[in-house]
C-alpha cells in the first residue's frame, strides 16, 4: 500500500465513522443469489457471479478455507454431504481469483477417511494444485475465547481461524434438533472436542461461534436436499432434487431463503431466529434482494 492510499483510506474511514452506521450496508437489503440448472458447475459459477464474482471475495495471494459438509459416510446422491461438483467449482473459482492456497476440510462425524472418500469430494479435488484436502488433526484445534452467551471458549480449528477468506458451503438438510441444518450449523465442522455438548443450547452456541468466525460467503448446496431423517439420511426417498445453489454474504439471509425451499418459514428454525436477533443477518425474505437465474 502506498502512503497516499493509506492516507486516503484512513481519512475516508474517519469520515465514514461519523455517519450513522445504517448508511453503509446495514440497511441495504442483503443480496441472495439463486440459480437453478442441471449443470452444477455452471449453476455454482452463475450464483457466485451474481454476487460480483469470486474476485469480490478472494484477493490474490489470500488463503481461503472452503468448508463443505463432509460429515457423513454417504454417497453424493444421498444428500448428506455437499455435492462434490459444487465444492470443486468453488475451489476453481478461488484459484482463478488468485488464491494462494485453498483448504478444504470438515471435522467429520463418521470415519474421516470414509467420509472424504465416499462424499466424492476428495476424489473431485484430487491432483489440484494449491489445494489442501486434509483430515482434521486433533492437535491443531486452538482453545479460542468466544465470550458468547453459551460458550465462553472452545477449541476451534486453526485453519479456520487463520483463513483470509472463509467460504461456508453447507448442504440444505433436515435435522432432528434444529429442524434444518444450513450455514449456521455447518460451522460445527470447525469445532473440536465434545461438540455434541452445544446441542443443549444450540441456538446461542451457534451464534457464539458464528460471531467469532464470520463466513465471508455462504454458498448453500440445494442441488438436492434431504427432507427427512437428517442429517444422516440414507434413504433416497427422503432426497428431493432441486438443482439449486444459493449464495449470499449474509449467512442468516442465505439460511432463511434456503428454509423456504423446504416449504418452511424462517421463523420455524430457531437457530435462524436466534442469529437474526443477535444481529448476524436478515431473516425476512421480503427484505432481501433475491437474484434468480434459471437455465
Amino acid at each position: 500500500m502506498k502512503r497516499r492510499d493509506f492516507l486516503k483510506l484512513g481519512l475516508t474511514s474517519l469520515v465514514a465513522s461519523q455517519f450513522p452506521r445504517t448508511l453503509f450496508g446495514q440497511t441495504a437489503p442483503p443480496a441472495v443469489a439463486v440459480s437453478e440448472g442441471t449443470d452444477y458447475a455452471a449453476v455454482t459459477r452463475k450464483t457466485i457471479g451474481a454476487l460480483g464474482g469470486m474476485k469480490a471475495f478472494v484477493k490474490p495471494g489470500s488463503t481461503v478455507v472452503v468448508k463443505p459438509n463432509i460429515g457423513w459416510d454417504r454417497k453424493p446422491e444421498y444428500a448428506a454431504n455437499t455435492h462434490p461438483l459444487v465444492v470443486k467449482t468453488i475451489v476453481e473459482e478461488c484459484l482463478a481469483s488468485g488464491a494462494k492456497k485453498v483448504k478444504v476440510f470438515d471435522n467429520t462425524c463418521n470415519d474421516a477417511r470414509r467420509c472424504y472418500e465416499n462424499s466424492g469430494i476428495q476424489g473431485a479435488l484430487r491432483g489440484m494444485k494449491n489445494v489442501d484436502v486434509r483430515f482434521v488433526e486433533n492437535d491443531r484445534f486452538r482453545k479460542t475465547a468466544l465470550n458468547g452467551r453459551f460458550l465462553k471458549e472452545w477449541p476451534l480449528y486453526d485453519d479456520a481461524l487463520n483463513a483470509d477468506v472463509f467460504i461456508n458451503v453447507p448442504i440444505a438438510k433436515h435435522h432432528g434438533l434444529t429442524g434444518l441444518t444450513l450455514g449456521l450449523k455447518n460451522m460445527m465442522g470447525i469445532m473440536g472436542d465434545n461438540r455434541g455438548y452445544i446441542h443443549r443450547s444450540i441456538e446461542d452456541a451457534l451464534c457464539d461461534i458464528n460471531s467469532l468466525v464470520r463466513s465471508h460467503l455462504v454458498i448453500i448446496d440445494a442441488t438436492r436436499i434431504l427432507t427427512d431423517h437428517g442429517p444422516q439420511g440414507g434413504n433416497l426417498k427422503d432426497v428431493k432434487v432441486l438443482n439449486k445453489v444459493i449464495a449470499s454474504r449474509d449467512i442468516v439471509a442465505a439460511d432463511a431463503y434456503a428454509t423456504t425451499l423446504f416449504g418452511m418459514k424462517p421463523q420455524d428454525i430457531s437457530t435462524t431466529v436466534a442469529a437474526y436477533k443477535r444481529g448476524l443477518g436478515e431473516m425476512d425474505v421480503k427484505k432481501m434482494k433475491v437474484l434468480s437465474f434459471r437455465f
Binding site: D73, C109, N110, D111, R113, R114, E117, N118, D139, H175, G176, L177, N194, R195, G196, Y197, H199, R200, S201, I202, H229, P231, Q232, G233, G234, N235, D238
Partner: protein
C-alpha cells in the same frame, strides 16, 4: 550371517509379513484383497485346532491344508524358511549370551502343550491362538508396537516443529508418506498391550538359555509341523554328529541337542549343509520307505499312549475350569458384527488381533475378563471408545477362519451386535430438561432406530420448553454403538448398548 537361500526366503517373508500387516487397514476401498490373514489361513495349527473344535472345515483354510501337505513332503521347513517370528529370533539371537538349556522343557513338554490345546479344542475351547507364534507376533505389533510407532511418528513430527519451525517442511514429504501409508490413522491404545508385549519378549528371554528355545521346546505350531515332518520324503544324512568334526552342534539352530538328530526339530534351514567342511550333509529322497515316520531312534520323544491320554484328560479338565462367566459382564459382551453365537465364536476365533488392527473406528479391543479366561484376547466392542461403522465390513474380510463372517454390506448392516438402552436418570431431556438428541442425529439407520417425542414442559428455571425426548426402536437397532460413542455426557453415556440374546 551368510546369505543362503533359506535366509533370503526368511527375509522376504518377514518383509511380506510386515507389508501385509501395514496394508491390513482401510485404504479408501471397501474391499481388502490381501491381508496379513494369509499367514493364518496357511497355518496348520489354526487348521487342526479349527477342525477339532468346530468338527468341520472351511474353505478359508484351504491354504493351511496345502501347507500341511507340503510339510508332510518337505518336513518342518516353515520354521526355517517362512516363520517371521523365527526370523526375528535368528536376527537377534547371536547378541544374547546363552546359559544352559532349561531341563524342564527338554522332556515331552511341548507335546503335552500341543495335545492339551488340541484336546481343549475338542471340548469346544480353542485356545491355540494364545500360543500360536504368528498370533503372538501380530498381537504384540497391533497392541503395542504399531501404536507406539504412531506415537513416535506424530510426536516426533510435532517436536520437530518446536525445534525447526517451518523448516520442517523440507522433510514434509517423508512425514506425509509415513502418515499416509505407514502410521496408524488414529491414536489408539489397547488393553493387554503390556501383556502382549510381555509374551512376545518372553520368547526372546527364552533365547538366554539356548538358540531357538521357543521353537524347539515350546511352540505348538512348530511341534505340530515337526510331527507332520516325521513323514517327510527328505531326511538329513548323516543322522548323527560326525565323530571327527561335531561342528553341526553349533551350526544347527534347533535339532542337535544330542548326538543324534532330533528329526522333529530339523527346520530344514540348511545351515549344516552350507557350512559343512567336508560336504557330507545331504537331504536325499527316501526312496525306500517314503512317508514312514522316523520315530524308532532312541531318546527321541515318542508319542505314547500315556501322553495322549494325559493330554486329553488335562485338556478336558482345563476346558471346564474357566467356564465361569459373570452375567453382568456378559451383558456388555459386544462381539463384532455378524457373530451370532458365542460358543461358536469361541471355537473359531484365533485371537490374532487382525480385526482390531483393521477396525476403522478403533471399536474393537482385546478382551481380558468379560468372557472369562477362555475369552482372553478375543475382540469386544467398547462403544465409548469406538463404534461399528455402518458401511464398513472390514473385520469380516480379514478374519482368517470366518469367526467373524464375511458378510455383504446389507447383511452386515442388519446383523445385530446388541441393542441401545437409554438411561433416563442421566439423559439430558429427561434428567435436566435440556434438549440434546445427538444420539438421534448420529443413528445411521435410514428410518432411525432412535426417534424422539416432542413434549411441552416447564424446565427447572420455570420456563416453558419444548423437549425432544429420545426413545429406541428395538426392532431397528443393530447395536452399532454410535449413539453411545457420541453421547455428549461426560464419562458414562446416557445411552448404552447391551448384548441382546438372538432368538
Amino acid at each position: 550371517m551368510k546369505l543362503t537361500l533359506p535366509r533370503i526366503s526368511q527375509f522376504l517373508f518377514l518383509a511380506l509379513f510386515l507389508f501385509l500387516f501395514i496394508i491390513t487397514d482401510y485404504r479408501g476401498k471397501d474391499e481388502i484383497t490381501v491381508a496379513v490373514n494369509s499367514f493364518f489361513r496357511a497355518n496348520p495349527l489354526v487348521l487342526v485346532s479349527y477342525v477339532f473344535a468346530v468338527k468341520g472345515f472351511t474353505l478359508l483354510l484351504l491354504p493351511a491344508l496345502l501347507m500341511t501337505i507340503f510339510t508332510v513332503v518337505l518336513g518342518r521347513f516353515f520354521c526355517g524358511w517362512i516363520c517371521p517370528l523365527g526370523t526375528l529370533i535368528d536376527l537377534v539371537t547371536r547378541r544374547i549370551p546363552k546359559s544352559a538349556p532349561i531341563r524342564f522343557l527338554k522332556g515331552s513338554f511341548k507335546y503335552y502343550l500341543l495335545f492339551t490345546l488340541l484336546a481343549m479344542g475338542l471340548f469346544s475351547v480353542n485356545l491355540s491362538g494364545i500360543f500360536d507364534p504368528i498370533a503372538i507376533l501380530i498381537r504384540a505389533l497391533t497392541f503395542f508396537f504399531y501404536p507406539l510407532l504412531g506415537y513416535v511418528g506424530r510426536a516426533g513430527w510435532s517436536g520437530l516443529y518446536q525445534i525447526a519451525g517451518e523448516g520442517r517442511d523440507h522433510v514434509g514429504f517423508l512425514y506425509y508418506f509415513l502418515r499416509d501409508y505407514v502410521l496408524p490413522f488414529r491414536e489408539t491404545f489397547y488393553p493387554l498391550a503390556f501383556f502382549s508385549l510381555a509374551v512376545f519378549l518372553f520368547i526372546f528371554i527364552l533365547e538366554r538359555f539356548e538358540r531357538r528355545n521357543w521353537c524347539r521346546n515350546v511352540c505348538p505350531l512348530g511341534t505340530l509341523l515337526g510331527l507332520l515332518g516325521r513323514f517327510s520324503l527328505f531326511r538329513r544324512v548323516p543322522g548323527r554328529i560326525c565323530k571327527d568334526c561335531g561342528d553341526c552342534r553349533s551350526h544347527c539352530p534347533t535339532a542337535f541337542d544330542e548326538e543324534i538328530l532330533q528329526a522333529d526339530n530339523c527346520i530344514r534351514c540348511m545351515q549344516c549343509r552350507t557350512r559343512c567342511r567336508f560336504n557330507r550333509v545331504t537331504f536325499p529322497l527316501r526312496w525306500k520307505k517314503p512317508f514312514l515316520p522316523v520315530t524308532k531312534e532312541p531318546r527321541q520323544p515318542v508319542m505314547s499312549k500315556r501322553m495322549f491320554l494325559g493330554s486329553v484328560v488335562s485338556g478336558f479338565f482345563l476346558s471346564r475350569a474357566f467356564s465361569f462367566r459373570h452375567p453382568e459382564k456378559d451383558n456388555r459382551l459386544l462381539r463384532p458384527p455378524g457373530v451370532k453365537n458365542e460358543t461358536d465364536f469361541l471355537k473359531k476365533c484365533v485371537r490374532c488381533g487382525e480385526c482390531m488392527k483393521v477396525c476403522l473406528r478403533s471399536a474393537l479391543y482385546p478382551d481380558l475378563a468379560r468372557a472369562g479366561v477362555t475369552g482372553m484376547f478375543m475382540p469386544v466392542i467398547i462403544p465409548r471408545l469406538g463404534y461399528c461403522e455402518y458401511n464398513c465390513t472390514l473385520c469380516g474380510q480379514v478374519c482368517p477362519t470366518g469367526a467373524i463372517p464375511r458378510l455383504p454390506l446389507e447383511e452386515k448392516q442388519k446383523s445385530i451386535i446388541g441393542t441401545a438402552v437409554i438411561d433416563k436418570n442421566i439423559c439430558l431431556p429427561y434428567a435436566k430438561k435440556l434438549n440434546c438428541i445427538v444420539c438421534e442425529e448420529h443413528c445411521p439407520i435410514s428410518s432411525k432406530a432412535i426417534r424422539f417425542e416432542t413434549v411441552e414442559d416447564i424446565d427447572h428455571q420455570g420456563r416453558k420448553v419444548s423437549l425432544k425426548q429420545p426413545y429406541i426402536v428395538d426392532d431397528l437397532c443393530n447395536g452399532c454403538g454410535i449413539c453411545e460413542n457420541k453421547c455428549p455426557l461426560e464419562g458414562r453415556s446416557a445411552v448404552e448398548v447391551f448384548a441382546r440374546k438372538k432368538g
